[in-house]
Structures are given as C-alpha cells and as structure tokens.
Subunit: 562 residues, 2 copies
C-alpha cells in the first residue's frame, strides 16, 4: 500500500464501481443534470414501462410471476440492474454491480426452469442486494475502511449460500459507513449515500446503501446488519420495511468487521424489503434451511408462522399494543409523534385491539450499557483500521468513538461488570412486560400481557448528513435483544408538522435534536416517517404477524412511497 494514499485508493474503488455499472446491458440511462431533492420518481421516466413494472413489484408477487414463467429471470435481473445503476447516480448507494455473474446466474435459472418446468427453489429468480459487509468470494470486504480496501472474501457468507440454494440472483453490493458504526452511510471510499426522498438528508445507516437502493426500488429485498439500529435506521429513513431479528436466528458467518469475538452485544443480520412479505420470505427461507447445522451459535427452532400468537397468548384474539410516545431522553420531532398519533387513532377504531401506554424504563442507562460494551477494546481495532491509511475520521466516527465518554479499554472485571449490568437491565425490562396490564391467573400464570410495543424508530425523520447522533430509539432493543420491525407510515408534511417554540429540552441530547427540527423543518420535506414494532426476545414471528394484522386493519402506509 506504500505508493497509494487514501485518495488514490478511493479513486480506484469508485472507478471499479463505475466500470461495473458500465457493464450493464442495455446501458444504464444518463440522469438529468438538474435534479429535484426527491429523486424517487426519476427512474420511472428513464426505464421502460416493463422495467418500471418489474422493479416496483413486491418480492412475493415477483416470485409468483417468475414461478409462473410470466417473467424470465434475465428480464427481472436486467430491470433491477438498470434501476440499481440509476439509484447509484441518484443516491450514491452502490459499491459495485455484478452484471456478468448476475446475468449468468439468471440464464442458468431460466434454463433450469425451461428444462424442469418448475422453479429451482422458493426464491427462484429473485434479485437480492447485499451490503458490502457480507463476504462474497473474491470480492472486496472493507467494512468502510480505506485500509481494508484489498481484503477479499474467501468464501460466500453462510446466509448467501442459503439464499443462493433457494434460487436467488446476487446483482448489487451496497455502501456502508467508515467502521460500520454510524446511523448514516458515509465513507472515504465512496462518499455519502443520500436519501431517495430528499437528497439533502441521509439515507441512514449503517445499511444505508440498502436503504437507499430499496427506497429507489433498485432492489426489492436486501440484506443488512444491525448492532444499534443499522437495519432500522435506513429502513425508516427510506420508507421501507426492515427487521432486526433476535440474535442467533440468522447466520452471521462471513461478515467482515472489527470486534470479532465480542458477544456482549451481538450484531445481527436481517432483511430490508419493499414489503412485509419480503421480510417474511427472507426469514422463512433462511431459518427453513436449518442454518444451525452449519453455524452452531444459532438456536435451532423453526420460523413459527403456523402458530397464532395472539390466540395462543390470551383467551381471545386481541392484540395488546403498548405505545411508547417518547423514551424520556430525547423527544421525537413533531412528524414522528403525529405518525404515532395517526396510527393510534386508527387502531382505536378497530376491534380486538387493546391499547396501553408503555412506560420506558431508564433508556439512558441502556445507552450507557450498550455504548460501554460496543468498543470494549477502547475502539483500538477501529482506530487502527482508520489510521492505517491516513484517511480522515468521518464526523460520526469521531462522534461515536472519540467523543463518546463510554469508549474505554475495559479489563476483564469491567467487561463482567457491564455484562451483569446488561443482564440486570434485561431482567428489569422483562418485569415491566410481566406487570404492564397483566392479570395473574389461577395457576400463577400471567394473562393479558402486552404483545408488542409501538414506538418511534428515531428522534426524527432522516436528518441531514452528520447529524444522526442519537441511537437510543434503536439501540434500546439491541441492549434488550428484542426483535424490532420498521414500517413506513407517512411523510413529513410541512403543512401540519410545525415548530414548537415553547419546548424546554430535558438535556443536551434532547436540545441537539430539538434544534435540528426547530432550526428549519423545511429541510425535512417529504422525508419518510416510519414506526417500529417491538416484541419480546425470540418473538420475531409474533412481531411480524402483529404488523400484518395491523396493516390489514388500518390500511398502512398512509402515504405513497413509490
């Protein structure tokens, strides 16, 4: 690396990306020089009507069309390659496209289909986009560090092998931030990924390349990872679905990152998708492949979509939803609270939904715990990886590492101390579930427990670049290891979402967030507003089923995202 400075390496990386996009056939259309802030509509004018139709079809429907032979895999793959190329031009969300191998794969699948008259597997022909974080044999694996630019995947990540066996097509790799530890996506290799709905805002992160690509409909199903909000922040910011599963359900073997061997706060892998069914499809396919046989850290139980979670957990089919309006640390911006209110008002109108209030328990303490455990080597690995190339620290790397008072090199005793604090906090939170609105039955069992918590995903819609400095609404559920599902609800509406001049912030974090909105709500124009549904540990299926029922009953989302 002696003769290459970081700028030259970044140039090589970007040239590689651009060259990969040039190999798409037919070539990706040029985008206009003058662009609106909301870029989601541009591809509709530049692609063929069939390409628009295909790329705006939800994955569960695309599968049916592919399995019926209505579309070939080549047609579908080509449409997504072209729209992904446009998404790159419009949001800077890719590290590379894989046109040659994707088309070769599609061709193979089409031939298989022709020969056997049936799909090769449950994901036959579905294009899946993947964060650069996941190893693919022979391709880059840099975790957002310039100094890691020449690391290559030695084998495909475990989850990719499963999806491949199910019949999918890999065609796009997406951006991630320096160190992977931002709720935005900017690196010195590729620059910043922007929000499809408002280019002045971030796409979120760290799976922000996925968020932007799927928000642009350059993908219908993509893979991200989440240790503090990295699936949910981009899903929320870009108006798509995203699930942070409970730990040890989805394989993580083959991810490239720092902190390997750290198990106190476990990074998880999960889907982002244009539909809730896309999320289900991913979970069901991956868990159905019994990944625990090859990755023994995983817990061996099936995806339990046969059970009715609500019938099982109470005497009738009532869903008990507890609403958390605010975490009492940082108050959400007006559009978030409005979205919650709109959902709650609709839920009040439907039958068999019981609404309760969720009292947050010491969410500031949860942040102290999680941020003490994230970098328990004092972030030595991250610092080394950044400094090895001479690349500058991105502002949010500085924020989460250098300016974070909880980042310290811990001793064994200190790790044990924080681990015990984490467990005590998890038990305290479990107690709240056990006691919120419950009755104790004759045999001492708990009846009428809260099924899911409905809450914000962040303290606002997507912020401007370098401003995502409050993780609490997402990292809270990483500390607790709860499944958390993000779904689009509405968009910022400057007609109704006003500033609040009377509010007195509770603390510095609250003040920072409050002023982001207060100083100019117009910068958030058109930004998606999403919410989060959270369940108890390992109740991933229940959370998904709850959202399915809620969507069905109240007709979510309330705005148009395509």
């Amino acid at each position: 690396m002696s003769e290459l400075n970081w700028q030259k390496i970044a140039k090589i990386a970007q040239e590689h990306r651009d060259a990969s996009i040039r190999h798409v056939e037919p070539s990706v259309p040029e985008v206009p020089v003058q662009l609106p802030f909301d870029r989601t509509q541009i591809p509709k004018y530049l692609l063929t009507p069939e390409e628009v139709l295909i790329t705006e079809t939800q994955p569960e429907d695309l599968i049916v069309s592919l399995a019926a032979g209505k579309f070939t895999s080549i047609t579908v793959t080509s449409a997504f390659l072209r729209r992904a190329g446009l998404a790159q031009a419009l949001t800077n969300c890719l590290t590379e496209l894989l046109p040659e191998r994707a088309i070769a794969r599609a061709k193979f699948l089409d031939e298989y289909f022709k020969e056997h008259g049936k799909p090769i597997g449950p994901l036959h022909g579905i294009p899946i986009s993947v964060k650069e974080h996941f190893a693919m044999k022979g391709l880059t694996l840099n975790a957002g560090f310039v100094s890691w630019w020449d690391k290559k995947g030695e084998d495909d990540a475990h989850v990719l092998k499963i999806l491949w066996n199910a019949g999918c097509v890999f065609y796009a790799r997406t951006t991630e931030p320096q160190s992977l530890m931002h709720l935005e996506t900017s690196s010195n290799l590729y620059g910043a990924t922007t929000n499809p709905f408002n280019s002045r805002l971030t796409s979120g992160g760290s799976s922000g390349g996925e968020g932007a690509l799927i928000g642009m409909r350059g993908s219908c199903l993509g893979l991200g990872t989440d240790i503090g909000g990295s699936i949910r922040s981009p899903a929320a910011n870009c108006g798509v679905y995203g699930l942070r599963p409970t730990s040890y359900r989805i394989p993580t073997e083959g991810l490239s990152a720092t902190m390997n061997g750290q198990e106190q706060i476990v990074p998880v892998l999960g889907p982002l998708s244009t539909s809730l069914d896309g999320v289900k499809l991913f979970m069901k396919t991956v868990i159905g492949a019994k990944p625990w046989l090859r990755e023994p850290s995983l817990i061996p139980f099936p995806w339990r979509d046969q059970e009715s979670w609500f019938r099982a957990s109470s005497s009738s089919e009532i869903i008990r939803i507890a609403v958390m309006w605010d975490d009492r640390v940082v108050r959400p911006h007006p559009p978030i609270t409005r979205a919650l209110l709109e959902v709650v008002e609709k839920l009040k109108e439907v039958e068999r939904v019981e609404l309760l209030e969720w009292e947050p328990h010491a969410h500031d303490e949860a942040w102290e715990i999680v941020s003490s455990l994230y970098f328990c080597d004092g972030a030595r690995e991250e610092s080394d990886a950044i400094e090895a190339s001479g690349e500058p620290w991105r502002p949010l790397s500085t924020f989460i590492i250098k300016d974070n008072p909880n980042v310290k090199k811990l001793s064994v005793d200190e790790i044990w101390y924080w681990t015990q604090r984490r467990e005590a906090y998890r038990r305290a939170y479990a107690k709240i579930w056990n006691e919120t609105g419950t009755r104790v039955g004759d045999t001492g069992d708990l009846q009428g427990m809260v099924d899911v918590i409905l809450c914000p995903v962040g303290p606002g819609a997507a912020p401007p670049l370098d401003c995502a400095r409050y993780w609490g609404y997402t990292s809270q559920w990483n500390v607790l290891d709860y499944p958390a599902l993000v779904f689009p609800v509405t968009k910022v509406d400057l007609e109704v979402d006003k500033v609040d001049n009377g509010y007195k912030p509770m603390n510095d974090k609250d003040r920072y967030n409050h002023e982001l909105w207060q100083s100019g709500p117009e910068k958030y124009k058109d930004a998606p507003v999403s919410l989060q549904l959270v369940g108890r540990r390992y109740e991933d299926e229940k959370v998904v089923e709850a959202l399915d029922i809620i969507k069905d009953r109240i007709g979510l989302p309330f705005a148009n995202f395509v």
Copy 2:
C-alpha cells in the same frame, strides 16, 4: 471476621450442620462404628421398612403415590430427612438439613391435599435436595470458600421458586468443593464427600454432595450445576442419572459463584436423579413454567417431548448412535471400555439401531480453549476468596488454577481471540456431525445424521480423593454446549477388569490416568461405571428420548445400584 480463623469458621459451619440434623424427628439413627467401604446398604438396616420403601421409590412413582394420597407429604419428607441424615454420617454430603421448614411445608401440602382433594402442582410433596450453590433466602451461600461463610441468600433462586410453585419440599442442602471448580467435593468448611459405593473414592464434583446423597437414596431428585462436568462427574461416580442441559434453558439466577458476567463458557443448572423420569420431570416442570419471562437470558421454547425425534430426523425410526471409545488424549480405564462394549454388544442385537464410530476431533484443543476461558481474570476472584480467610488451597484448586498453564489474566483482545477459537472449534465439530454417515438428499438436506454420541463420562470410575485431574470427557461438551446425559451401566468388577501392562501412555495426562488404575485396580472395587449420551446443541429432549428407548431395548443398568 477478625477474631475468627478459618478453622473456627469451619467448626461453626459443621456444628450448624450437625445441629440441623439433630432437629430431625424421629432422630436419625446412629451408624455403626465399623463400616464397610460400600455404605449403600447401611440405611436399609437402620430405617423402618416404610422409610426404606419410600426413599427407594423413584420420583415418578412417588408423585403418583402422593397424588393418590397413598403417602402423605409428611411421611415422605420425614423418610428422606432421616435417610439424608444417615447419608451425611456415611458420606459427608450435607451442609445442612432443613427439618423445620420442610415439615412445615409438608404439613401445608397435606392440608391442601385434604382440603382440595388434589395435589397442589405436578411435584406435590416431592422432596428435592439442593447444592449449597443455590440461594435460599436467609441461608448460607458460600461457594465452598471459608471467607464467604457469612454470605446469605437474599431471595430464593429462580429455579427454586418454580419448583416450589410446582409443590416440592426443600429439605437438604449439599456440599460443594472449594471454588466449585473441582470434579470432586472437598472444602475446608466441611472436608471431603466420599463415594457411597466405596468410601476410599470420591463422590465426584462439584455437585458431589448431590451425587453422594442421591446415590445413598437420601434424595430422589436433586439440583446441581455444570461448567466442566460438575453434574455428570458425581452422577457417574455415584451411579445415578444426571443431565447437563444446553445453556439458557434452565434458569441460573440466584447461584452464588465467582466469575459472574463471564459468558464465554456458560455454567448450567440441571438435575441428578435416581431415575431418567426424574430428569424429565425436572426439565418439563421448569421449562413448562416459562422461566424466560422472568429471566430473559433463557431461550423461549417448550420441552419438546411430543415430537418423535427419530421419526422426524430420518425416514424410519432408526436411532443412529455413534460410539466414541476414547478421546485420543486419555485412554479410559478397562471397566469403562468394558461397559461401553457391553452396551454396544447389546445394541447390536436389537432392531432399528444403527451403530457408527465417532472420530474425536482435537479434544486436546477443546481443553486448551475451555481452560483458557474459565478463569479469564487469571482466577483473581477465586484466589482472593481463598486467601481472604487464610484457608489452605485444596490440592484440586491448586491443580486447576495454580498448576494450570492456561490460567492467565486475559486482555479484551485475548478474550476475543479465545472466543473466536471456541466458535471455530464448534463449527468444525458441527461439520463432523454433518458428515459422519450422512447422505445428501435431493434438495441438499442431510439425511441419516448421527442422533447421539455414546461415550465415557470420565477416564475411569470414581478416583481416590485429589486424583480427578482429567476433565476432558465432560468439559468437551461444555465447550461445544451440547446436552449430555449420564446413566449408570455397571460396576467395577475386579474379576474381569484387569491391568494392562503392555500399554504405552500417549502423554503425561494419559500416564497419570493409566497409573491410577495400573497401580492398584482393587481400590476401585464396586465403583459405579456410567456412560454418557451426548446430542447436538439444544437437542436435550432427543438425548433423553434416545436413552429412554435404549434403556427399554437393552435393559439398563446391568448392575444393581440400590
């Protein structure tokens, strides 16, 4: 503690124990001054015929008798209190009896039964013995350290609350070794616990008080813990059943020990019992109480005894058993190999059993990993706790801490390194399961996988005191976090179990073990010989069901243990 030296504290502890036994009514009979090495038969001559009958009844039958009103809870409790008192005199297995609270509880249960005409719960009236390691409100909690002698339980351990709610009676607390990290049971508070079948040998450990008490039939169901063999070693040495469950299935909240917060090698809690059904009863009752609602580290899935594990995992009901004769580090003594051979010969005669050979994979490496992770603070907590009172280091504490080259104070990086080594080892072992005797089906699924491994529990029967210096046959499954079930098979038979003068030991550990036998097999006279059935992670139910079928088909055990 200034005015008390360790000898005085030990005296206080022993006097407390003796006083508690004196409170049993009718009083515990005196044991003869001259005793044989095999002490299991003594109680039969000193108790009433009804007491002998009750205490030699297996827990599943005792439950039926109690639920039918054939025995009162007082009658049953009193019988076990008296036999436990004898077991103390014969094997030194108790830290205290709890006659007052046990009889009060039994009285309450009898009144409940009289009033309601039915048992209070699934364990109505069953006496359960508990290792001192488990918190009971207001009682000692010393983990075998003299300096911890005045620690008291603040609340009952979670598992005890569940068993209490199910109707059990707590009546006896049992010994454990200094630091809990021996495969024997000796402390400076209570001395050494001896083997019921041969008082020159150890009962095993660290749950060796339970092993001896249950082996003596002073208990039919007891609770131990296991981080390297501490349930299985005493179960094996004392001729009873013992299960080390997979981690995070049984609550561990309320155990007193060093290394709280250490999660790399997780200590687990499990049952020892006079019967396999006793093991099942415990697992089913505890897991059926949904302990994960209160202890969120636990994995929320039921005890799956409704599934046929063997029908489910293959096209017919064949059980595939892989036999591991030897771990290639330390060769088992002749009686162990003979017991394995006898079981295998019988299994060959029955239908629908497929026998394979299990090729051990780097079991020496597994020990390096596990023993590097046990004491990753360099055993500072243990050393401090021993040295605080001036008590001497017991030989096996010195062995596992001071003489163990893998005990080092680790840095964060080193902990991560060893954690990654552990995961890599677990994956390598999973690969062997996936490839041993399997066929790959049409859809890429694995068919005909090994169901269980049949193997030794240790490199010999119970050794003389201070000689249990090879953990590999049990700690192996802690590294892998596999469920492992111990069951009695036969006894040492000096007529057939001979020395082998031609054997050349493979290494120092093997030599030490070889010479233990070679130097005088007669010291092992009558010692129980047990074996171990091991399953993949979280297949606890499968292991239990497999043993049930095996027992049924070949008529285990081959010797009489009562």
